[in-house]
Symmetry: C2
Subunit: 400 residues, 2 copies
C-alpha cells in the first residue's frame, strides 16, 4: 500500500482524488500495489466532505508523516508551493505537480534537490493537461536530436480563436463566451497574453536542451490584437491563426517564443480546434510527431498527475532524464535572429514601397487595408524593412 498526500483540493487536486477512488483496481494493477490518499492539505473548509477526516490545514501533518512517500502538488502559484515542494523533496518525498508556473521558474532547483535525496519530481500534467508530452520527449524520442517543438498549448485562446474563425465572433465576444463557460478566468491575462503558453514552451525547451529556458528571455505575444480582418486575410492565404508556443535548437543554441501564427490548412496543428491542444515534436530521425488531446480539465489533467504517481510507485529513484540544470543565457538565440516568413498589413499608399523594399510579392486586398507575405527573413530584417516602408498596420509570423 502506497500512501500519498494531495496539496490543493481545487479542480485538479479533487480530480486526482476522484481517479484514485474510481479507478482503484486499475491503479493497483498498473502500479503493482494499492495507492491510497492519506492526507489532503487545503486551507478551505471541507468538513462536509465524505472523507473529511483526510483534510488538514497544517503542512507539518504531511511533511512529518513517514508513511507518505509521494505528494501531489496541485495548488498552483509560487509562494507556498515553492516552500512546500522544497521541504518535501528535502525530506525524501517524491513530488508530482501540475503547476507549470513553479516548474518553469524553479524546476532546475527542485531537480537538484531531488537528486540529492534520490527522489523524483515529475510534471507531466504541467504541459498539455492529459496529453503525454514530457515522457515522450524524455523517453520515446530519446534517439533524436530534437530540433523543434511547437504547439497549441493553451486551450482558452484556442477556444477564442475557434469562435473567431468558425463563427466570425470578435475577440471580445469570444472571450466573454469563454468566461461564461468557465474556459477563461475573470482576469484572462495569463491566457490571452500568452503567459501560460510561455511557461509551457519554457518547460518543454528546458527538457529538450537540459538547461532552464527562462520565460523572461522569451518573446511573448498574445491574441488580444487579432481582429476579424486578420481572420479574413488568413483565410485568403489558406491559413488559420493559432497561438503557438514554438522552440527550436540550432548549433547548440535555443530560441523559444509565444505568438499568434498563420498555420497552413494542411498542417495537423490547423485541425486542432476548441479547447484541444496539439504539440508537434520534430526530431532529426523521426521527423514530425503530433500529440493531441485535452490540454486542460479536471480529469484529463488529473490523469497525467496519477500517471506520474504510478511511475513513481514503480520506480522511486531519481531519474536524470526528466531534469534540467540552470539557465545559460549565452545559449539563447535572440528573437531578432529568428527567421520565418511574415504576413504584413499595410496601407494603400505603401504598396509601391513594398515592391521596392520586399521585392516582387503579391499584395492582397483586405477590407480596410492591404497585406503581403514576405520571403523568409529574420525578425531584424523584417523590422528594418517595415521601417523603410514607413511602418505597418500589423505583422504576423507564418508557421513553417
Amino acid at each position: 500500500m502506497k500512501k500519498i498526500a494531495i496539496i490543493g483540493f481545487g479542480v485538479v487536486g479533487s480530480g486526482v482524488y476522484e481517479i484514485i477512488r474510481r479507478n482503484k483496481d486499475i491503479l493497483t494493477k498498473k502500479a503493482g500495489e494499492e495507492i491510497d490518499v492519506k492526507k489532503i492539505l487545503d486551507i478551505r473548509d471541507f468538513s462536509a466532505h465524505e472523507e473529511a477526516h483526510l483534510f488538514t490545514k497544517d503542512f507539518n501533518d504531511l511533511v512529518n508523516d513517514g508513511e507518505i512517500d509521494i505528494v501531489v502538488e496541485t495548488m498552483g502559484g509560487i509562494k507556498f508551493a515553492y516552500d512546500y515542494t522544497k521541504a518535501l523533496l528535502e525530506k525524501g518525498k517524491s513530488v508530482v505537480t501540475s503547476n507549470k508556473e513553479l516548474v518553469a521558474a524553479h524546476g532546475d532547483e527542485f531537480f537538484r534537490i531531488a537528486k540529492e535525496n534520490n527522489v523524483r519530481y515529475l510534471y507531466e500534467a504541467s504541459v498539455g493537461g492529459g496529453i503525454p508530452i514530457i515522457r515522450p520527449l524524455a523517453c520515446d524520442a530519446s534517439a533524436n536530436d530534437i530540433v523543434e517543438v511547437s504547439g497549441i498549448l493553451n486551450g482558452t485562446t484556442n477556444y477564442i480563436l475557434t469562435k473567431m474563425f468558425k463563427e466570425n465572433d470578435s475577440f471580445e465576444s469570444a472571450l466573454k463566451t469563454a468566461q461564461e463557460l468557465g474556459y477563461a478566468e475573470k482576469d484572462p491575462t495569463a491566457d490571452v497574453d500568452g503567459i501560460d503558453a510561455s511557461r509551457k514552451i519554457a518547460i518543454l525547451m528546458s527538457l529538450v536542451t537540459g538547461k532552464k529556458f527562462d520565460c523572461s528571455l522569451m518573446h511573448t505575444e498574445g491574441i488580444r490584437n487579432i481582429t476579424a480582418e486578420d481572420v479574413t486575410y488568413a483565410a485568403a492565404i489558406g491559413c488559420t491563426i493559432k497561438l503557438i508556443g514554438c522552440g527550436y535548437t540550432k548549433d547548440g543554441k535555443v530560441n523559444a517564443s509565444v505568438e499568434p501564427m498563420l498555420i497552413p490548412e494542411n498542417c495537423p496543428l490547423a485541425g486542432v480546434w476548441d479547447v484541444f491542444n496539439g504539440v508537434m515534436v520534430t526530431g532529426n530521425m523521426v521527423d514530425s510527431l503530433m500529440f493531441y488531446g485535452r490540454g486542460a480539465g479536471k480529469l484529463p489533467t488529473a490523469s497525467a498527475v496519477v500517471g506520474d504517481v504510478i511511475d513513481i510507485v514503480r520506480n522511486s529513484s531519481y531519474n536524470p532524464y526528466y531534469s534540467w540544470g540552470e539557465c545559460d543565457e549565452s545559449a539563447v538565440i535572440p528573437y531578432d535572429e529568428v527567421t520565418a516568413r511574415f504576413f504584413v498589413r499595410i496601407k494603400e499608399e505603401q504598396k509601391e514601397k513594398v515592391k521596392e523594399i520586399f521585392g516582387d510579392t503579391e499584395i492582397i486586398k483586405g477590407i480596410s487595408d492591404y497585406g503581403f507575405v514576405t520571403a523568409k527573413m529574420s525578425v531584424k530584417e523584417l523590422n528594418c524593412g517595415i521601417e523603410k516602408i514607413g511602418g505597418a498596420v500589423s505583422r504576423m509570423r507564418l508557421y513553417r
Copy 2:
C-alpha cells in the same frame, strides 16, 4: 560502453546502425553511457560495407558473445526470428524488435521468458513506426481504464485511400503508384487486405487487456473492394474512408477488428493523409488522445527501436507493464456483437423495403445505386436486416 547487436540489416536494421553512428553523442547523453554496435547478423554479403568486420552470418557469434547485452531484431517474419529471440532471451539478453508479426504471434511467450531471465523484450517500433504508442499506453495513460484504441495503422493503405480521395484515382491505379514509389510490396496482400493492421491492433489490445488478442479471432477486412462510388457516397455524408484497426473493452471483454470505416470530417483521424499514421486512445479519465506521425520508413522506425535500446540501457530489469499473458478466447466479444452505424448500398428496387426494415432513414442517390445510414445496431442485426431486404451491394461501418 554498452554493446549491441543487430539481426537483419534491411531497411530498419540499417536505420538503427545509422542512428547509432550519426546521433552518437546524443545517445550517450540520453542513455548515460556510450552505445556501440558490436555485431550485425545478416545472411547477405556486406563485404563492401565500410564496417564489414561487424557482419557475421553465424547466430552463435551473437548469442555466445558475453559482451552483448541487447540485441535488435529487425529481420521480420517468424521462422528464424522466433528461434533467435527465444535463444537470446534465454541467454539473458534483452531484445528490441520492430517485428509486429512476431510480437503479435509470440509476445506472450517471450514476456514469460524475459521475466524468467530478468531481461526486457520491447517492441515500440512494431506499431506506428516512429510514433510513440506502446510507452504512452503502458505508462502515460496508466491512470485510465482504456476503453478504446483505434487508428490508421498502415501507411500503404492510407496512401492508396488518399490518392482515391484527393485525386479520384481508382484502387488499382493508386496501388500501382504506391508500388512504384516503394510504399507497397510487389505482393501487397499483407497491407491491402488488412493483415498488417490486424497484427498492430492485436498488439495494442493485448497490451491494454494484459491478454494476447489472437489475430485469428479478429474480423479483418481490407480495402480492395472500395470503389470511386464509395468515395462519392462518403463525401456526400461528410466523411472520408480510412482503414481502421479498432479495439474496445467492455465489462472485462474485448473486441478488435480491421475494416474500412467512414470517418466524419471533423474527427482528427480524418486529417491523417498519405503514408502517415494516427492512433486514437480513449481512457475513462483522459478522454481521447491522438498520436500522429510517420508510421513507417527507415529512420522513423529505427528511431523507435533505438529509443527502446536507450530505455534498456537505463534499466535492463524485466518490467511487467509492457507485457501480456496467454489468450483468453472466452473474453473475446464476437464481431457479430459489435455495435455501430453502417452505410449500406442497395439497388433502387429495395428502397421501399429499407424503410420497412430499417425504419425512416434518408436514402441517398449514388451513381449506379442508392445508400443509407442505419441507426446504431449490432453486426448481427445489420446482417439480419440486410437479409430481409434481399441482400446489399455493400456495407461499411461508421467510426463512432
